[in-house]
Subunit: 333 residues, 2 copies
């Protein structure tokens, strides 16, 4: 199955360029810090510092939703590019090193002044759920002038994270990129990112899904929030036919993939003890888009996404510490 | 058994204040980079940058041998202090946060100029062995004026890492602290750190062990290097009686603990798949010294060290991601 012409890049992503700080804590900590379990909250620098001071020892790792997706795709052998803004500081150099070290193109110039590289404090509770507090820092400085539109026009798929909607400049960059992508014959993929993020930007997202998006990624709370549906199945009915493909993830219940009139129910993979759900949705999208840009059948794309997500939840952190190529060779071939 | 008077601190450590960058790679990478498996090599900033550029994605975590030991002791409930030098930069703030977040006292002022916070690139190979390249950065700026000697005189045990010998100023700080400790009725513990480090400073260490050290930690390659012994058992004979206690670790073969004429052979704990040996010796010392400063029998100290080491090798990184108190409750009570 051929879905695209030959292009030098499979997927180019635009997202917040973030270094994650993973800490373990219990539900009482979430309550004491007024954090909403499972969600992503935006915090300013002072709030970020206060939360960090209250937290236990951390483990630092490059993160960022779209960046995690692109790294997964690159680890599977796909040709990936990323557009996002770090500062020229220690965390910015860590982010830049890590994404380039898997072969992804990352050429957005680092900011030399202004806020520091974005950080996300991720609290992992004993139930493996992750709760995130993001200080966007330098990443909100991404604006249309930063966009390498030549890279966008070289990609089969442009991948956008919904979190970008929280930054007006990044949102403009996002729309400009989507238009260039479409004009050059590429497809646009969007992840809705977070239920509260959908709440904040519902009208924009509804318009975007109908007008610009070819491939939509959402989890059950995001898709029901988008359509304010009474149930997941009601949301499935709403989204059907609005974009070429919708991949709707449901944690341990796997995912539902829709394309035209077709529907596939893809089971979750259980590959070990559930440790940390950080990055599960990101890696699902990375696996799915790798299959999609290689021309795999849609259900195979879903299984590939499901497998990568199943791996990343068995470890602490949002980027796979094992070879995804070997994982695929073991489970899918 | 009471070994010490009441003092406000159990153990104060002096060491290099380092942030670790953990990367996975195979033996071919070590060969290409001329790295000696299992060892610690010192690199300058340019070498550190070149190695990092050649490495895959990393996971960042606070490290430093003595600091890891003190964090383990604090996690077990001991009263810990640490003396070491970071710069006032992002990695320095990570190091400072992590050690303080477990309740350890860390009050050495951060440097406002000069080299950046020390980093150690740790290459973890598929056999779980770790190979380290350390850029000492700001940590070599530790000198006798930085020492909080009041903290040293408040501790039951002063713990020193042999790695400090690679920095002349830190070595002076180290000796000054040992003298204050002894004068105030405390004991001095030393870890030999690394076989190559022992090679570089053999005469100093021999003199130190005979003249200043009450509790010695070494692994088999370090102790045989120290005495240039033909075998581990020959080195055991050499060290016997030279300090009050010697705890000699042997990876999967457990440890040998000597005190006066007595010898205990302590088995290793196997608590899961061997993932990464980083921090095994450090956590052994942390567990041992916790028991020691609580007045536990010497063999119980060895078992506590062995248990903590057995835990840390089942995860990536040198500081336990699980509660050491719960671990002890499960395995030793």
């Amino acid at each position: 199955m051929t879905r695209f012409n030959d292009r030098p890049l499979d997927v180019v992503g635009i997202g917040n360029a973030i270094v994650d700080v993973l800490v373990k804590a219990d539900d009482a900590f979430l309550a004491a810090q007024s954090l909403n379990k499972g969600s992503m909250a935006l915090v300013d620098e002072a709030q970020a510092e206060a939360l960090y001071a209250a937290s236990g020892p951390g483990l630092e790792t490059s993160g960022g939703s779209a960046a995690n997706t692109l790294v997964g795709l690159a680890q599977l052998g796909g040709k990936a590019g990323f557009i996002g803004r770090v500062k020229n500081d220690q965390l910015g150099r860590i982010f830049s090193h890590d994404i380039r070290s898997v072969g992804a193109r990352f050429e957005t110039p680092a900011a030399n002044d202004g806020p520091s590289t974005a950080r996300c404090l991720i609290v992992v509770t004993p139930d493996a759920q992750r709760t995130m507090c993001t200080y966007l820092g330098a990443s909100v400085q991404l604006d249309p002038e930063d966009l390498d539109l030549s890279m966008v026009s070289e990609a089969k798929v442009l991948y956008l994270e919904g979190y970008l909607w929280d930054s007006p400049a990044a949102k403009q960059a996002f729309i400009a990129a989507a238009e260039v992508c479409k004009a050059s014959g590429g497809q646009v993929a969007l992840s809705l990112s977070d239920g509260f993020c959908v709440d904040r930007h519902r009208e924009s997202f509804l318009e975007l899904v109908d007008g610009h998006v070819d491939v939509l990624f959402a989890n059950d709370s995001e898709i029901t929030s988008l359509y304010q549906s009474p149930s997941f199945e009601a949301a499935v009915e709403e989204v059907k036919g609005r974009c070429q493909v919708a991949a709707l993830t449901r944690s341990k219940d796997g995912s539902v993939v829709l394309a035209g009139d077709q529907r596939w129910d893809i089971p979750a993979y259980t590959l070990g003890e559930l440790v940390d759900t950080t990055g599960a949705g990101d890696l699902y999208a990375g696996g799915f888009l790798h299959g999609y840009t290689q021309g795999e059948p849609i259900d195979a794309c879903g299984r590939l996404g499901s497998l990568c997500a199943g791996q990343v939840v068995t470890q602490l952190g949002p980027r796979s510490q094992v070879s995804l190529k070997e994982l695929v060779a073991k489970h899918l071939n």
